[in-house]
Assembly symmetry: C2
Homo-oligomer: 450 residues x 2
C-alpha cells in the first residue's frame, strides 16, 4: 500500500497537481514521506513539506537523517526554521542544532521562546553517545501527594506537548525522582487516592552521563516504555523512549557486525558513506593484519628446507591454517555476541573454555578424518598422518584462541569486539603454520631448521 502511495506521489509531482499532492502527503506515514524526501531534490522536498500542517511537517522532518535535515534547514528562512524547531521533538532538534553552523544556531535561538531556548541549549550540551544526548525533555511530571483525579487533569493538559503520556514521573520538592506511575494505573485508581499510593517507587533509571547502550539494555531488559534519566543529584532531567532505544540497539548491532569484519564505525551508514570514509574505516586493520600475516610468512620461511624436501606439504597449508582460523572465528563471534547481549558474563570463562575444548576436539576429529583420505591420496601414509594430526591440533588451538581473546580484551577494559574474525584468523594462521611444520618435522624425522 505504501509503495502505491509513493507512486501516486511521483505522478502528482510530475503533473504539478497541488490538490492531489496535498491529500497524498497527508495520508503518508511520516517515515515513508521521509524516505521519499531522501531521494528528492532540496527544492522538491521543501515544496512537499510546505503542503503539510506544521505538526506533521515537524514529525516527518524528524524522520530524516541529520545530513539531509541540515541541507533542508540551510534552504529555509530563519523564521520558517525557528517555527519548525518549536514543533520538533526536543531530542531530535537538539541533534540537528548541534550540527548546524554557528550563525544559523544563533539566528534560530533568537527567534525561539525563552523556555524552549534554554531547553534546547541544555539538551544540546550533552556529549555524543551519552544518555543525555538522546533523552528528551517532553514528559509529564506530577508533584508528590497530588490526587489521582487532579493528576489525570494535569496529564490531559500536558498531553499535546509530551513525547509520551503513558509513563508519568513523580517528583519531590527538590525535583528528585521518587516514583513512576503508568497512565493505565492512574486510570484504574480511585480518583481521590494520592498518586503516592499507586506509584512504583523502585524506579529503573539511568544517569545522564551513562552510555546510550546502557539505556537500550535497560529498556529491553525491563520492557520499559520510557526510561527516566537523572543527574548527579537524583533530579529527573529527561526520558528516553523505547523507539529511540530500538534505534540505539540497531546501531550498536551494526557497529558490532562491522567490527566483526574489522571495519570501523561508519557514522553516516553504509549506503551513504563517502569513499574516503570507507577507505579510512577499512585500511587501518587491513594494513595491521598484513603485518600480522608477515609472521605466518616468517614461520613458513623458517621451515624452508622442509618445504623444499616435501613440496606436497604446501598443498595442505591453506586448508589447514584456514580451518584453524574458521573455527577460531566461530568461537570468538559466539563469545563476543554473548558478552554484548549479556548472555555470557566474564566469570563464565572457565566453564565455557572447558566446553569449547570438548566441542573443538570433536570438530577437529571430524575434520581430521575428512582430510586424512586426501592426505593419503596426495602424499601417502606419512602425509596423511601429518595432515590429520595437524588438523586436530590446529582446530583446537584456533578455537581456544577465539574463545579467549574477547575475554582477555574485556579484562583489559577493551572492547571484546576488537577480536574480529580477521584478527583471530590471522593469529590462528601464524600458530597453524608453526604447528603444521613442527608436526611434519617430527613425523618425517627431519632435523629442526635454523
Amino acid at each position: 500500500m505504501q509503495e502505491e502511495l509513493t507512486q501516486l506521489l511521483y505522478d502528482a509531482l510530475e503533473k504539478q497537481d497541488t490538490l492531489q499532492l496535498e491529500q497524498l502527503v497527508g495520508d503518508l506515514q511520516p517515515a515513508d514521506l521521509a524516505e521519499f524526501l531522501h531521494q528528492e531534490s532540496i527544492e522538491t522536498s521543501l515544496k512537499l513539506l510546505t503542503h503539510l500542517p506544521i505538526n506533521r511537517r515537524a514529525e516527518a522532518f524528524g524522520y530524516l537523517d541529520v545530513p539531509t535535515q541540515i541541507k533542508l534547514a540551510q534552504a529555509m528562512t530563519e523564521e520558517g526554521l525557528a517555527q519548525l524547531f518549536m514543533h520538533m521533538n526536543a531530542d531530535e532538534r537538539a541533534d540537528l542544532f548541534n550540527e548546524m553552523p554557528e550563525e544559523r544556531q544563533q539566528g534560530v535561538l533568537r527567534r525561539m521562546a525563552k523556555e524552549e531556548r534554554e531547553d534546547l541549549r541544555r539538551l544540546a550540551s550533552y556529549e555524543e553517545g551519552t544518555c543525555g544526548a538522546i533523552m528528551t525533555s517532553d514528559y509529564v511530571t506530577l508533584p508528590q501527594g497530588v490526587k489521582v483525579n487532579r493528576a489525570l487533569e494535569i496529564v490531559r493538559q500536558t498531553a499535546p506537548n509530551a513525547e509520551t503520556i503513558y509513563q508519568i514521573y513523580i517528583l519531590d520538592a527538590a525535583m528528585q525522582l521518587v516514583g513512576t506511575v503508568s497512565l493505565r494505573e492512574l486510570i484504574l485508581a480511585k480518583p481521590t487516592t494520592e498518586v503516592d499510593t499507586v506509584m512504583t517507587s523502585d524506579v529503573v533509571s539511568v544517569s545522564v552521563h551513562e552510555l546510550q547502550e546502557e539505556a537500550a539494555r535497560k529498556i529491553s531488559r525491563y520492557d520499559i516504555l520510557a526510561l527516566p534519566v537523572i543527574d548527579d543529584q537524583q533530579r529527573l532531567v529527561g526520558i528516553i523512549t523505547y523507539d529511540d532505544a530500538m534505534d540505539v540497539a540497531e546501531a550498536e548491532a551494526t557497529e558490532d557486525i562491522h567490527k566483526g569484519a574489522s571495519v570501523g564505525p561508519l557514522d553516516e551508514g553504509f549506503a551513504k558513506a563517502k569513499i574516503s570514509s570507507l577507505y579510512r574505516r577499512r585500511i587501518n586493520w587491513l594494513v595491521l593484519l598484513v603485518f600480522a600475516n608477515i609472521l605466518s610468512g616468517a614461520g613458513i620461511a623458517f621451515y624452508e628446507e622442509v618445504i623444499e624436501s616435501y613440496v606436497v606439504l604446501v598443498f595442505f597449508l591453506p586448508l589447514l591454517v584456514a580451518s584453524g582460523g574458521n573455527a577460531g572465528a566461530q568461537a570468538s563471534t559466539l563469545m563476543i555476541r554473548g558478552l554484548a547481549t549479556g548472555d555470557v558474563g566474564a566469570r563464565d570463562w572457565g566453564k565455557l573454555l572447558g566446553r569449547e575444548l570438548i566441542v573443538s576436539a570433536s570438530l577437529g576429529l571430524t575434520m581430521a578424518v575428512a582430510i586424512s583420505g586426501i592426505g593419503l591420496w596426495r602424499g601417502g601414509m606419512d602425509i596423511a598422518q601429518i595432515v590429520a594430526l595437524s588438523m586436530f591440533a590446529i582446530v583446537i588451538v584456533g578455537s581456544m584462541i577465539g574463545m579467549s581473546l574477547p575475554f582477555i580484551l574485556n579484562k583489559l577494559g577493551w572492547d571484546p569486539a576488537t577480536a574480529s574474525g580477521p584478527l583471530v584468523t590471522s593469529i590462528a594462521d601464524i600458530v597453524g603454520v608453526l604447528i603444521y611444520f613442527a608436526i611434519a618435522s617430527m613425523v618425517l624425522d627431519l632435523p629442526l631448521p635454523g
Copy 2:
C-alpha cells in the same frame, strides 16, 4: 541497587527469613527476579514464586526462558499451573503451552475457562517464526461509530486484562480493522465526538502469516507501540507490542552475527547451548570450507614447479591471500548488514560496486606500497614487483567478490548472510593463489605449468 537486592535475597534465603524474603521478592523487578530464579534450584524457585501474589508471579514467570518454565511447570500441581496460565500474557503462555508434554497440555486446558482455552488453542496453532506465533490476543477494540466518552469507559473496563491500552483498534461489523486511535488522542478528543473522526484509517499492519522480522522492522520504522496483526479476511486477530519486537530484533541480529562467522542458529542461546548442538551448528560449514580450501591447495600444486624454483614466493603467500580475504569479508559484511537493515536495496548494486572499485583500488594501492618494501628486502626487485602487483589485484578482486556474493544470493532468493566471512575468505583465497602465481609466472618469465 538491583545487585544489592539480589545479595539481600541470598542472605534471606540462607537464613530462611520468610518475612524478609516476601518483602524483597515484592520489591524486585520481574526481570531481575527471573534472572535470580535461573540460577536457583527448582525447589527454591517454586518457594520464591509462591511468595508473590499471582499477578506478579505470572509476570516474573513470563520473563523466564521456556526450558526453565517447563521445568518449573512440571513440578507444579495441575491446579497451580492452570491458575498461572490464566494470569500469564496470552503470547507467553502459548509459547510455553507448545513445549509442554501432551498430557500436561490436556490437564491444563481442562481446568481453564472456555474462552481462555479457545484463545490459547488458537494462539498456539501458528507456525514458529510467524507473526501469529508472537502476537497476543489481549488488546482493546472499539466498534465503529462509538462516542469518545463511551470509548474511554470501555478502555477503563478492559484495562486490567489488556497487554496495552495505549493503542486501540476500531473494528467494523465484520470484525475487520478499519482504524486505530491512541489513548492520548482519545483523552484529548471531545467526549461527544465519534471515534471514527479521531482515528487514523491508514493503519500499518502485518499479516498473521508474515515473518516476525517483518513485524519488528515495521515497529522500528514507524515507531509503533503495538502493531495490529490481521488474517486473510482483514480481520484483527492479534497485536505485537514493541517489547516483543525488540526481542525479535535482538535475536535476528544475533543470528546474523553468528551466520557472519558460519555458525548456524542456536535456539537456546550460546551460554546454555549443549555441546552436541554447538558441534552441529559449526561442523557443516567447517567441513564444507575444508573442501573449498582444497581448491587453493590444488592451485598451489598446479604451480609446484614455480614454487620449487622460487621458494621465497611461499613466504608471501599467506599474507597476500589473507589480505584479499580480509578486504572481501569487510565488503560482504557491510553489504549484508546494509541489506538486513534496509539501508541498501537490491537495485543499488551497480552503484555500490562502482564505489567499491574505487575504495578497493585505494586500499590495494596502500597495501601494495606497504608490502613492496618487504618484497624488495626478502627477494629483490622482481619479487617486490610481483608481490605489489598481486596485492593490488587480489584486494580489488577479493572486495568485488565480497560485495557481489550477498547480492547474488539475494537475487537467487537465498539469505545474503550465507556469504559469511569464512566463505568469502575461502573463495578469495582460491582466486588469490591463482592471481599470485599467474603474475609471478609472467614477471619471472616462467613457462605455464602443466
